[in-house]
Amino acid sequence: MTATTATQLTLLQRLRKFWHRHKWSYFFIAPSMILFLVFIAYPVAQAFLLAFQKVDLRGSAWTGLTNFKDLFASDLFWLSMRHTFVYALFVVLAWITSSLVVASLIMPLSNRVQSVFRGAFYLPNVTSIVVIALVWIWIFEPDFGFFNYLLTVVGLPKVLWLQNPDIALWSIVLSTVLIVPGSGVVLYSAAMGSIPREYYEAAEVEGANSFQKLVAITFPLLKPTTLYLTVIYTIAGFQIFERVYIMTGGGPINATMTIVQLIYQTAFSDFNYGKASAEALILFAIIAAFSFVQFKFLSTDVEY
């Protein structure tokens, strides 16, 4: 009897039952999902459309692949790509290395000393990049800046850190790589802490020294952490903006132009919204490709 009534439910009844069962679920997700659809999903979809149009203050018109063709033919675009790749490459290498070395060094220390160092390395990450970039402008200042003061102390000539087009990009790289990333130190030391003691004890029985233990046990077991950090640092490197915007504005003579700075200028100085969207999509494609390749090459099924 119950079976027949269940099959004979009208559409309205079924809808009512559905609503009664799931209304709270939809109520709970509604605020986030509305924000997500309106301010992420819809703009992403629109970015794909804008990239194939000529959009400026006057209006819009379909232009097919013109934006992309223009970009691939533009020297400035390739220059900004090169700068962004150089920046990302050096930052990822330096940050992975330095956080791994620091985490290895603090590992044998007592818990209290470890947490002091972790705090010290994390502290510079909590302030905004705008603040940090302003301090670096002051450190790089030609006449009274700290770096040129150091150079004069050791008897070297002053350097125009941010004004010399041959040096400016390297100064921005330097300002980034000199700081050990706190996130890397914290994550590497957490991962090292979770490696079972027995692995090391077994290696000691076989007569391995500290360095051998590091290379043969620690580093391979850190691979998942290395993968994660490589991906997030690569993404962060490709998205460099505030440092460039504040320190050089992409200059001198485009010597520090990066992709996001270019997107900003294309959209908000040239008001060429379609082209800016095309640039943003290229950045998206590069980031997606890099994340994919890094997962392919670095991922591992080591479990412990």
Partner: protein, 310 residues
């Protein structure tokens, strides 16, 4: 017995030498770490050192390596030189005049606190539904959220700007806050956490006739307190420090956030007065530094929770 206890005196000298050789690598390691930490912390140190020394010390060589003539003069001056602005209350005619730097501080705090509160509420609601409830579309929506995590913010920059232009939200806090609220990382983080909570408490409450909202506020929220704290702390840090979006949306100096205001001061006529600039930057940095020391534990936890997804 005494004959065994006696000779311990002699070998102890050898022991100190051994101890020295044993402790040497450790000491070197500590020294190396200290040097690396000092380099990493140097920009922050230099920020406060310059901010706290008299303005004249930024145009002399050698520079003061420590703030010998401690002064708050730079702070007073940058506050005064940021110009007078109006803190608008309910209507345009109703306002309190005050230096712009104070306004920027208030604006930033308002935007950051409001956005953080909304995030904690909305993200925990969605996290709860995705973690504990099966409903049509839940998998699809969750996969869309995961996919959105991969998309760099620059992709939506231009479409969002065109959207707020059409909505007449340019140069308003609504324009800064609303698109800024769309960030899915908190949903993900809280879903992962709420999934680990045992279901028995909810079931018991449901048997006792508790409403769904009652279960959420009475059971899920209290049990998720650590994850809520992590979500709140990272959201607050993000909103306090965010730059590009408010830079694009805000045009009147009275509405600027601290980060936008700093870049504005930097490009103004006294933007090369580094004493002033560092004092302004210090004012923007101090709340985050205090915040970090107060909630250090949660910062470290949050990093690890964030990394698990990777």
């Amino acid at each position: 017995m005494t004959s065994i206890a006696k000779p311990t005196f002699l070998p102890s000298r050898r022991l100190t030498l051994e101890r020295f050789w044993r402790l040497l690598p450790r000491t070197l390691v500590l020294l190396l770490l200290a040097v690396v930490a000092i380099i990493s912390l140097f920009p922050l140190y230099w920020l406060f050192n310059t901010a706290l020394t008299p303005a004249s010390s930024t145009v002399k060589l050698p520079p003061d390596l420590i703030p010998v003539h401690l002064t708050l003069g730079n702070f007073m001056e940058v506050i005064q030189k940021s110009g007078m602005g109006k803190l608008r209350l309910l209507s345009p005619e109703q306002f309190i005049p005050m230096p712009r730097l104070y306004l920027w501080f208030i604006n930033t705090a308002f935007i950051a606190i409001f956005s953080t509160a909304v995030h904690v509420l909305f993200d925990s609601m969605a996290g709860y539904a995705f973690a504990k409830k099966k409903f049509p579309g839940s998998n699809l929506l969750f996969w869309m959220i995961l996919a959105a995590l991969m998309i760099p913010g620059q992709v939506t920059l231009v479409p969002l700007y065109l959207m707020i232009t059409r909505l007449k939200w340019v140069n308003t806090f609504v324009g800064v806050i609303m698109p800024g609220l769309a960030d899915v990382i908190g949903i993900f983080l809280l879903k992962q956490f709420i999934q680990t909570l045992p279901g028995e408490l909810e079931d018991a409450a449901r048997v006792d006739g508790a409403s769904e909202w009652g279960i959420y506020t009475g059971i899920i929220l209290p049990l998720s307190a650590p994850a809520l704290a992590v979500t709140a702390i990272f959201a607050f840090q993000r909103y306090w420090n965010t730059f590009l979006w408010p830079l694009i949306v805000l045009q009147s100096p009275d509405l600027f956030t601290l980060q936008v205001g700093l870049s504005y001061v930097h490009t103004s006529e006294f933007g090369t007065d580094y004493g002033l600039l560092m004092a302004g930057a210090a004012l923007a940095a101090i709340p985050m530094i205090i915040f970090f020391f107060a909630f250090q534990k949660y910062f470290m936890q949050g990093l690890r929770i964030g990394a698990i997804k990777g």
